[in-house]
Amino acid sequence: MTDDLIRRGLSRRGLLQTTAGLIGGSMLPAMPAFAEDKPAIGSYPAGVSGSTAFIGISVPRTGTYAVQGEDELKGYQLAIEHINEGHELIKKISPKTSKGVLGKELKFGVADSAAKPNEAVQAQQRFISENKAIMITGGTSSAVAVALNKLAQREHVLFVCGISGSNDTTGKDCVRYGVRQNFFGQTAAAAIGPIMVREFGKGKKAAYLTPDYTYGHTVTKSMQDFLATAGWTTTTNQVAPLGAPDYSSYLLNVANSGADVLINVNWGHDAVLSTQQAKQFGVLDKMKLVVPYQVPFIARETGGLMQGVFAATDYWWTIEDKFPLAKMFNEAFEKKYGYKPEWGAENAYVSFAHWAHMCEEAGSFNPPDVIKAYEKGETIPSLVGDVHYRPEDHQCVRPVIIVKGKQQKDMKNKEDWYDVVEIVPGEGLMQKPDAFGCHLGDYT
């Protein structure tokens, strides 16, 4: 943690500027004359005027999503380490990288968001103003992601989104200054839906457990919409607050609803608890469980309740047989942290690698240039094959992996929780870019 040590203090320029502003009563920003000819925007070029570039990371380290947040953080740390040392894997994704990004060593600060938008915005504002963060990241909760989207757009600092499953993140709440690598509600539904229809048949009845915020609502909506095309109906949709202490009332409603399939959209600890209690109330004996948006570590935390359960995910480590980059990542991650990475860490790592790639392509940290590099839509490598970012909504078009929980007897080792059922290519999954009303906004 010592390398997180942050050097503080406002530059003399900033102080003079403030002085002028206060005395003058108005705040006409006095643009400093810098060597580069690009106009200053956000934390550029102030944030990269030295030999380092700073990244602000806010992940939940307490609260409902703490477990997933810590995992995500490990992915970020590994990526930064690899970028700074010019690791082989990074070079595979970002060929122009030698050491650091554009020769600048990456520094970072970590703040606990507790999956609360307020905490995240507060921390990132600090990173931006104090540390001149050139890029910010965070997520695990889509509410946080959406809030940071807006912050990024206002502050003109690029936001490379962490885990966020809401359609809105690159839908109606999309921004020019935000990009997202991972899969989300609509893609999850489009990928897992056909498999559910194949496995369970048409015209089934589904009950939903939905967390009460943007992620839950959009994932549930996407699932309902897709399954309706196969004649599925919804018997009940139980909307629970984030961090609900007990699901018994919800589950009784589910148990008495006569559904065939329980679609659990809850995430993090909520998913673990609601699944455990669903088992206790006999719901899992009556209906099939589906987890459309896979929760890292849920198999371990529920102690085997995922057996036979279908889930859609960004990444599962056993695909390493097909994808050499995944194998390299798994090895590097396991060496450093002692366990197989889950998709939170994968998303974190790949997002940073892609960002490094885009900066190198742009040849500058200047945010509009980096954004334009993303918007070229160039095909680039990831751990699950080639992907690209859509210029219209800044969403990465990438495959979704469908897994099914293994029976205990079939597990080859203690982390062999899932079979990979199918790797669904991203192209056919995704809604049209304008389907969710995305308006990216300005570059400046």
């Binding site: 609260g63 009460d212 607050p241 009332s249 009784l252 148990a255 600890h269 608890l273 206790q280």
Partner: protein
Amino acid sequence: MISWPNLVSQLFNGLALGALLALISSGLTIIYGTLGVLNLAHGAMFMIGGYAGFVTYQYTESFILAVIAGSLFVMLLGIVMERTIIRHFYHRPHEDQLLVTFGLGICFVEIIRLIFSSQSQLVPPPAIFQGITNLGFMFYPTYRLAVVGIVAIALGALFIVLYRTRLGMIVRAGIEDSVMVDSLGINVYRVFMMVFGIGAMAAGFAGIVNAPVVSLTPGIGDDILVQTFVVVVIGGVGSFPGAILGGLIAGEIISVTSMFNPGYAYVMLFAAMTLVLVVRPHGLLGVQGRE
């Protein structure tokens, strides 16, 4: 899901929720009634009971031992807390008592978070209570059924202590008239210490008994604390029967509202509390006494 079977299920579930709330609230209310201190760390004690039981279970794999250890540990914690800190606050204003217990509650939660991290921890129910029971009209987790019984026994034990022992007599007298007890020549401080210990134990016991129902996280006591306040306000501050009645009412309100829309469960709970405050400001079974 509005249907008769579901209503019956929810009514039953309300009873189970309510029984637990009643137990935790009775601990809070007897401490308050006797000592005049509202322990805002009560939720944290509930949580610590769960964790103490969890640790014991890790080492012994015995649920019974976990329950005993969880309860005793929290009782001990209560006694230590009373002797070292709370005692110095009897003669300070109520606000200070609230502040210090509030602060202690935060410290407890954060210490547990430091030791066990935020990851949820599991205590499985004892083998005989695992699985599901078919009640005819519904399936219900066997252990939750057992919890109703266990809590009823615990409340019975508490009743005996309060209504059949000398200590209980003093406690109840103190709830009605604290000045009188002072003048009886009883070593009030010893009584206070024991009451604080017993009240804390009720929370700790509830914590470990509840642990197999939900998984343990450091923040588990915070929500419960607020609910126990509502229970106590509905039932009447300082009233043991009030805590039981209030607990059951609260459990039913939460559960039955959940049938229509779980999102409104707590809103309805607080609406009920407001109604009680307007109609019977001292709670359903409360007496005009301490403020």
